[in-house]
């Protein structure tokens, strides 16, 4: 039987491959063909069979009709600076990172559109105060502490870092910030932020432990205060990253509180020198070892601490998270966050979004909408 060929548009295929950081050999492997055949698709000399086409659409995560459009979209979902983050000239963003940013860009676009229709003006009316590169991190932390109604006592009194993560995520969402938690993979970016005048977004990598995620949420808030987009790979890579790091540390471990804890544990003016001391202080504030070590060194309360922290200390233990609901609805609820979900439900209730649109934008089924706490939704 003669195979059916699919008339893909070469420029659109090229665009989709670049957006997902997929090269011809990778696509060829997925489509069970040769790289030269993929090059033939890209220069318009050949067309994929239906079977190959299904593999292309699945790998590049696009609908079939997309590849047949006359031309690629004008907009790119991933800010150009995210492909080669400042401070990391050697780093080429991975497929997992680009997929996460593309997901977040779509979420922001849908949320912004919906917010305008349901009159969600929380960020418009009361955005986090803007700062410049000249604003001292500690001053910015005071401004953010007030805006978030943050309490160090509440933070320290929480049962564990997960509980603090919930609090900070909730506070951001209450103030109109989209707060996503996406699986981006170990050793990859800790988080990123997408600035917007209606629906700014912060996303953190769920491959890290809760204490590290907490620090990243606050770090990304620092980027929003600077009104910039940013993808954050490690610690202190650039002046901006260093500023956000100091900002997050100042908010989560205010100077006086930290000095008080050092005095209570080790004596007034004690210098912190070993990892066990760092661990105790990190526990006091429900933050990560790395963040604590950085803060102690910044305040000259300790020396050579960061170098003692195991490289993988912020990574989740393998097998962690067992017992949590892994159904698609529950996973989507954790990833997208209450802020986005409640906005989508409000959009559906107000008639701005159709029911099928709601399901598409949450990527859940009717049953999952009802059973995972996302719904139910009255028609």
């Amino acid at each position: 039987m003669k195979p059916t060929y699919v008339p893909v548009t070469p420029a659109v295929l090229q665009w989709a491959m670049e957006e997902s950081a997929v090269d011809p050999p990778e696509l060829a492997e997925r489509a069970k063909t040769e790289p030269s055949t993929v090059l033939g698709w890209l220069n318009g000399e050949e067309q994929p069979t239906k079977t190959q086409f299904r593999a292309i659409a699945a790998m590049l995560k696009r609908p079939a009709a997309f590849f047949m459009m006359a031309s690629p979209p004008i907009e790119t979902a991933v800010p150009p600076a995210f492909r080669h983050p400042p401070g990391h000239p050697e780093h080429e963003s991975t497929r997992a990172e680009l997929d996460a940013v593309a997901t977040a860009s779509r979420v922001r676009r849908i949320a912004r559109w919906t917010a305008e229709r349901v009159a969600d003006r929380r960020w418009l009316d009361e955005p986090v105060p803007a700062v410049t590169s000249d604003t001292p991190p500690a001053r910015a932390a005071e401004m953010a502490t007030s805006w978030l109604a943050w309490s160090t006592t509440e933070q320290r009194g929480a049962a564990n870092p997960s509980a603090v993560v919930k609090i900070v995520r909730g506070r951001l969402e209450e103030r109109g910030v989209l707060a996503l938690q996406l699986p981006i993979g170990e050793e990859l970016c800790r988080g990123f932020s997408l600035n917007d005048d209606v629906k700014p977004l912060v996303a953190i990598n769920s491959a890290y432990i809760p204490a590290a995620r907490l620090f990243t949420y606050v770090h990304e808030l620092g980027h929003l205060m600077r009104r910039s987009d940013s993808i954050c790979l490690g610690f202190g890579d650039t002046g901006v990253e260093r500023w956000c790091e100091q900002f997050a540390a100042a908010l989560l471990m205010p100077h006086e509180h930290l000095r008080t804890r050092i005095a209570a544990r080790f004596g007034t003016g004690a210098t912190i020198t070993d990892l066990e001391q760092v661990r105790l202080l990190a526990g006091d504030f429900n933050v990560s070892l790395t963040a604590t070590a950085i803060r102690l060194e910044d305040l000259n309360c300790g020396t050579a601490l960061v170098s003692q922290i195991p490289r993988t200390s912020d990574h989740k233990k393998s097998g962690g998270g067992r017992g949590s609901d892994s159904t698609r609805g529950a996973v989507r609820a954790r990833e997208l966050g209450e802020g986005y979900i409640s906005l989508m439900l409000a959009g559906a209730r107000d008639g701005a979004l159709g029911r099928q649109d709601l399901l598409r934008y949450l990527d859940v089924s009717e049953g999952q909408l009802r059973s995972t706490g996302i719904g139910p939704l009255e028609r």
């Binding site: 609908p63 159709g354 099928q356």
Partner: protein, 155 residues
């Protein structure tokens, strides 16, 4: 008149009809009589948006009895290239362009065709199916009017 139905309409029948079994039984007869059809992409979309729900189960059950299962790739390509803003670039499971192409192809065959859909609202990711139908002069109808016109109870 022949109808092609999309996932939003099937889902609405499943979630709002006071007796969806009766409604789907009648639709099954219409499928068998070649009065009603839906494209393969609708089945795929329903597996995502109505997994194990009555609408998806009905579509999966009757899909083998359809006389028409969708437009050719050439027609889908024509639609994607010539009808503005109908593709949601990241809407991986969105059947809309295929539904429109299916209706267009049946119309080109000279059939008196209409689309049954609830996809009538402007949206952030693409235009509504009803608006695209208007552009191509394809009739469309929402579920309550359609079922009533077919002599079926609603809700």
């Amino acid at each position: 008149m022949r109808w092609t139905i999309d996932g939003s309409a099937i889902n609405r029948i499943a979630t709002e009809s006071s007796n969806y079994n009766t409604a789907f039984d009648a639709l099954t007869d219409m499928i068998a009589n070649s009065e009603l059809c839906f494209c393969d992409e609708v089945v795929d979309e329903l597996e995502r948006t109505a997994e194990n729900e009555p609408g998806a189960l009905w579509a999966a059950t009757v899909k083998g009895r359809r006389q028409h299962t969708g437009a050719s790739m050439t027609t889908i390509a024509w639609i994607a290239r010539n009808v503005k803003d109908i593709v949601d670039p990241a809407g991986r499971h969105d059947a809309m362009p295929s539904v429109l192409a299916h209706a267009y192809a049946l119309g080109e065959e000279g059939q008196d065709i209409a689309v049954v859909t609830e996809d009538i609202l402007e949206k952030p990711t693409r235009r509504a199916l009803s608006h695209a139908c208007d552009e191509l002069s394809i009739e469309w109808v929402q579920v309550p009017e359609w079922l009533t016109s077919c002599g079926l109870p609603w809700p």
